[in-house]
């Protein structure tokens, strides 16, 4: 089987999410990559270095600069004439583009796969990860998104794939990019952080969140996450959200502070290697999944923890 993997990038650097998708694709067969962007040859060169990659298709045109699905989907559909599976990391770009491609190919997409069980058989989470379904595709081609935390990252170096230019399919003329507010942060990105400190509704407001959570995160060199309740209440921006509909994370250590542990939140972090919970309610559901629990007032415990580490 010949696979085509969507390379996630910002036109300068390849994102790590790509590497897990490459691992998933390599279980199906030959791995080709697609770098679609603008002025993104450097990304194609990075991608060509991933171990085990056969070829990199580079579509470098202004119409692909912001990965608008309306422009990217026809490009992918064209390339799928010579590929059997389109594999995307389950990033917001992947989730935006893959179903559009699937419908154009008349294929039922398999979302957020956790494992490859056979040539057309996969497992995937349903009901916020409260059940795992094994599904087998009967379609001629496959369209798949890959949960990054479920697969090891492919080795980013050691490969020397050829880069092949692909002609632009042009502007679909239906959509345009207006702008972005992308948070600049010195802290590790959530989906690749080794340690995450996450805060919940108990943090009261954005200032308290900043004063309590950030010093601990800085001390540990950790990424910062939040529950849906904390994001909805405006303590932190949307890109901090961990959960069923936010980011799915699986760091070495996840420290949940003032988070009760709603199933929607657990869906996003329960594959973390070690979960530590600090909550003053000893009956909070988070303690049912925590490896280490501390029943305490977070306003006393967290500053003390930050100081003593």
């Amino acid at each position: 089987m010949k696979t085509l993997v969507w390379v996630e990038h910002d036109n300068s650097n390849m994102a790590d999410a790509t590497l897990a998708a490459v691992t998933a694709a390599s279980k199906l067969g030959e791995v080709h990559l697609l770098v679609a962007g603008s002025g993104c040859r450097a990304v194609a060169e990075q991608a060509a270095g991933i171990a085990g990659v056969g070829k990199v298709h580079l579509a470098d045109d202004a119409v692909y600069a912001n990965a608008l699905a309306e422009n990217v989907a026809p490009l992918v559909v064209g390339l799928m004439a010579d590929h059997d599976a389109f594999v995307c990391p389950a990033t917001t770009n992947g989730k935006n583009i893959a179903p559009r491609v699937a419908a154009l190919l008349d294929v039922m997409q398999i979302s957020d796969i956790l494992s490859v069980e056979g040539e057309k058989t996969f497992t995937r989470p349903i009901y916020a990860g409260n059940a795992i379904a094994t599904v087998e595709s009967t379609d001629a081609k496959l369209v798949i998104t890959v949960r990054g935390t479920a697969f090891d990252k492919a080795e980013p170096t050691g490969g020397s794939a050829a880069i092949e230019d692909v002609a632009s399919t042009g502007d679909a003329g239906k959509s345009s990019f207006v702008g972005a507010e992308i948070a600049e942060s010195e802290r590790p990105e959530l989906t690749s952080a080794k340690i995450i400190v996450s805060g919940g509704r108990a943090l009261k407001d954005s200032e308290t969140f900043e004063q309590v959570i950030m010093p601990l995160a800085d001390k540990l060199g950790a990424g910062v996450g939040a529950s849906r309740a904390a994001v909805d209440a405006g303590y932190v921006p949307n890109d901090y959200q961990v959960g069923q509909t936010g980011k799915i994370v699986a760091p070495e250590v996840y420290i949940a502070i003032g988070i009760s542990g709603a199933i929607q939140h657990l869906a996003g972090m329960k594959d973390s290697k070690t979960i530590i919970a600090i909550n003053k309610d000893e009956d909070a559901p988070i303690f049912q999944v925590a490896d280490i629990g501390l029943v305490a007032d977070l306003y006393k415990a967290v500053p003390e923890l930050t100081e003593k580490l």
């Binding site: 699905a69 309306e70 917001t92 770009n93 989730k95 935006n96 893959a98 179903p99 559009r100 699937a102 419908a103 008349d106 039922m108 997409q109 398999i110 979302s111 957020d112 058989t121 989470p125 349903i126 009901y127 409260n130 059940a131 379904a133 094994t134 599904v135 087998e136 009967t138 679909a172 239906k174 959509s175 345009s176 990019f177 207006v178 702008g179 972005a180 507010e181 992308i182 989906t191 540990l220 849906r228 909805d232 921006p237 949307n238 890109d239 509909t245 980011k247 199933i263 979960i275 530590i276 303690f287 049912q288 925590a290 280490i292 629990g293 501390l294 029943v295 305490a296 923890l305 580490l309």
Partner: protein
């Protein structure tokens, strides 16, 4: 301009799903069912656009069993004007739902189709994007802000790094994220009024759509259970554990 708002009847988000012992699925017998939360946000957004004078009429549509009528009545009670149930007892996959919605849209001719970004049962996150593809329309997915002006809609999207704004020509497809709005509760008088609003029932065959599943679900199982660990007495003990793990 009309808005078409697809809604799905799903397990209530407060209910913890139980996997059937025989591995065939999740037990939905005697379980509380509700409108998919993202679809409630879609209905609310359509109503707000109508209140702002951007939309004249809201048509709610659901693909599902006869009981999905209740979900449509909820949409009508919130403020939708009419409803269509495309009735089937089969499980309909997102691709087939998108095909049905395309056929419905061909009759309604909506300027906007507003859908939830994903249903909390199958967590597929596909239908809106697929509908956009089949109708050859632009898509504004994971919307946290929707502004309709003239012949276009500006959609602010929740993306991995933060927020992104795109401008789409109308007609367009929008899928809702959590923070787009807070859906209203239907008042009792509106619930009564909703009973008199038109609700038409169709079948997938009426639209000539083949809903045969493309995916075979061969097993549904419980995820690995995480065991609760230990509770520590104080911060000092926690620090000791963290240091033993090599953290800090």
């Amino acid at each position: 301009m009309k808005a078409l708002v697809p809604v799905k009847r799903v397990i209530d988000y407060n209910v913890k799903p139980r996997v059937k012992a025989d591995g065939t699925g999740v037990d939905l017998a005697n379980v509380k069912m509700s409108m998919n939360p993202f679809d409630e946000i879609a209905v609310e957004e359509a109503i707000r656009l109508k209140e702002a004078g951007k939309i004249e009429e809201i048509v709610a549509v659901s693909v599902g069993p006869a009981k999905a009528q209740e979900t449509l009545r909820t949409a009508l009670a919130m403020g939708a004007d009419s409803a269509i149930l495309v009735e089937t007892d089969e499980d309909v996959e997102p691709l087939a739902v998108a095909k049905i919605l395309k056929a419905v849209a061909a009759e309604i001719e909506p300027g906007l189709v507003i859908l939830g970004k994903q249903a909390i049962d199958d967590d597929s996150n596909q239908t809106g994007q697929m509908l956009a593809a089949l109708m050859d329309l632009p898509q504004g997915t994971f919307a946290s802000k929707v502004v309709v002006e003239g012949d276009h809609v500006t959609v602010t999207r929740e993306v991995d790094g933060g927020l992104e704004t795109v401008k789409l020509s109308l007609p367009a497809i929008v899928t809702t994220d959590l923070r787009l709005n807070e859906p209203r509760y239907a008042s009792l008088p509106n619930i009564m009024k909703a009973k008199k609003k038109p609700l038409e029932t169709k079948t997938p065959a009426d639209y000539g759509i083949d809903i045969t599943p493309r995916l075979k679900t061969t097993n549904v199982s419980e995820p690995p259970v995480r065991q609760a660990g230990v509770k520590v007495a104080d911060v000092d003990e926690l620090v000791a554990k963290l240091k033993a793990m090599g953290v800090a």
